[in-house]
Amino acid sequence: MKTQVPILITMIVGASLVLAMFVPHSPFRTLDEHFSVWFDILACFAFVLGGGNLLKVHLRKVSARGKDWAYSAVTVASFLVMLVAGLFKLGAPSWDTDFIGDGTWFKAIYDATFAPLQATMFSLLAFFVASASFRAFRAKTREATLLLVAASIILVGRTPLGDTLTAWLPRPLEFLRIANLSNWLLSVPNLAGQRAIMVGIALGVISTSLKLILGIERSHLGGVRE
């Protein structure tokens, strides 16, 4: 029962949604709309589950004084503070205003801690990219050299300097301007590669979806055995 019911639900929902895609008439069209709204409702419950899971994992770590338990304590405290500030709209002039509106605790904490922390983490990439480009980006093979040349063109081409440096080139040689070369690299070789990857992924998605609908793929059931 534990596997058959979920497989049956997957089969019915999956088949209905596939049919709805190709048969845009009632009842399939309506089914598709209903399923989409139900999915949204389920997604909201996923937030509750996610929050509960986060508390469970980290509180257990704190109570057991496991490795790096202090970080878990910070995680739990931050989570609860943001949750309370957002849910009860602390600092908001009235209940009708947005939880992220001016004067709210949520906005103050978001602006003063969350935004700079995320920006800092992302900014660190610049340093690591610089270091990695020096140590790892080597023209060891023909393919690596091609990649290196393409990357260099894109690096300069995606700045205003790309325009300025080669603006002197006469009209017949306009295609050699760095900005044009950069655009060509993105619109031709990159596009061809991306399309190939997308088609490959799409075929993989179709194959996996069919396996799920037909009950061949059961790993999503969490290895439940009858």
Binding site: D32, E33, S36, V37, F39, D40, A43, C44, A46, F47, D96, T97, D98, I100, G101, K107, Y110, D111, F114, A115, P116, Q118, A119, M121, F122, A126, F127, V129, A130, S131, S133, F134, R135, F137, R138, A139, K140, L148, A151, S152, L155, V156, R158, T159, P160, L161, D163, T164, A179, N183, L186, S187, N190, L191, Q194, R195, M198
Partner: protein, 294 residues
């Protein structure tokens, strides 16, 4: 008698450049252009010009849906493009609907309203000319649901007011009710999902802005399924340049990306220089190894 000092080969010196030196160089590459206000002239590329022309062609009163699908980490790239497009749509007299499918997105929407709407369009009325719908959970599932029943998903605005009480929400049934979707994204779910679930099936025109990292992934959709694309800070700067050429009244407020392109250009040049130095060291080392094995 001390042994004669041998000079270290160049490739060894280059290969030994300390990581901290590189970090310090990067700090200077970003900080100095900011301090000295280094700016370069920016010219819009065709892929960005198409977005400008699309918004420029919208009649007053056209409905434009903006989705801010990013957080503070990529805001330096995404926020200027979002605000420039928002200013442009409002300057054209469009009605704008602001939303996000990222949990970290609502403050970015609020920031755009503060920076663009409340600064440059003080005469615009909330609920008549613009509306903040806030966050909707469900990722691509939410987009799919919005494509079917918009008001069923957004029963209230971000402040909890009944959606039917707003004049500009009349006649909005699904994403098909919009004249244009402007998707500003930084990953999943984002621009790709807006194209796949709302724009393409509903035949709704869509323009987009993304981080520089994500932009190459979206080229397969351009130009048939995606009218135009602002890729990274350069894309944002190009849009600002196009906007300022036509609407100079926005001035410095709509030139943030153009200003930030100075530090970014120098940082790119530094990375390029490091690649060159690394490869010079590599070639010299290989030559030395070949010589030693002969």
């Amino acid at each position: 008698m001390p042994a004669p000092r041998t000079r270290e080969p160049l490739h060894c010196t280059l290969a030994r450049i300390d990581r901290r030196v590189i970090f310090a160089a990067m700090t200077l590459a970003v900080a100095l252009p900011m301090l000295f206000h280094l700016e370069f002239p920016v010219h819009p590329s065709p892929i960005v010009t198409r977005i400008f022309e699309k918004i420029e062609s919208l009649p007053p009163g056209a409905r434009v849906l903006f989705s801010f699908d990013y957080g503070p980490s990529t805001a330096p790239e995404n926020q200027p493009m979002a605000e420039a497009a928002l200013r442009h749509a409002l300057a054209r007299g469009c009605r704008v609907y602001l939303m996000t499918i990222w949990a970290t997105g609502p403050p970015q929407v609020v920031r755009a309203i503060d920076n663009a709407v409340k600064t440059d369009f003080v005469d615009r009325v909330y609920g008549r000319d613009y509306i903040c719908l806030g966050f909707k959970a469900g990722d691509q599932g939410a987009i799919n649901a919005l494509a079917a029943d918009f008001k069923g998903m957004f029963t209230t605005d971000a402040n909890g007011a009944d959606i039917e009480s707003f004049e500009m929400m009349r006649g909005i049934e699904s994403t098909k009710s919009f004249d244009l979707i402007v998707a500003i994204g930084a990953g999943l779910p984002g621009v790709k999902e807006w194209i796949q679930f709302a724009a393409d099936p509903g035949n709704v025109p869509i323009v987009a802005g993304t981080t520089a990292v994500e932009a190459p992934l979206l080229y397969p959709y351009y130009p048939r399924q995606l009218i135009g694309l602002m890729g990274g800070l350069q894309g944002a700067a190009e849009y600002e340049a196009a906007l300022l050429a036509k609407y100079p009244q926005f001035g410095e407020r709509s030139a943030r990306a153009i200003r930030m392109m100075g530090p970014q250009t120098v940082a790119h040049l530094l990375i390029l220089a490091l690649v060159v130095i690394g490869n010079v060291a590599f070639v010299l080392e290989r030559r030395a190894q070949k010589r030693a094995t002969r």
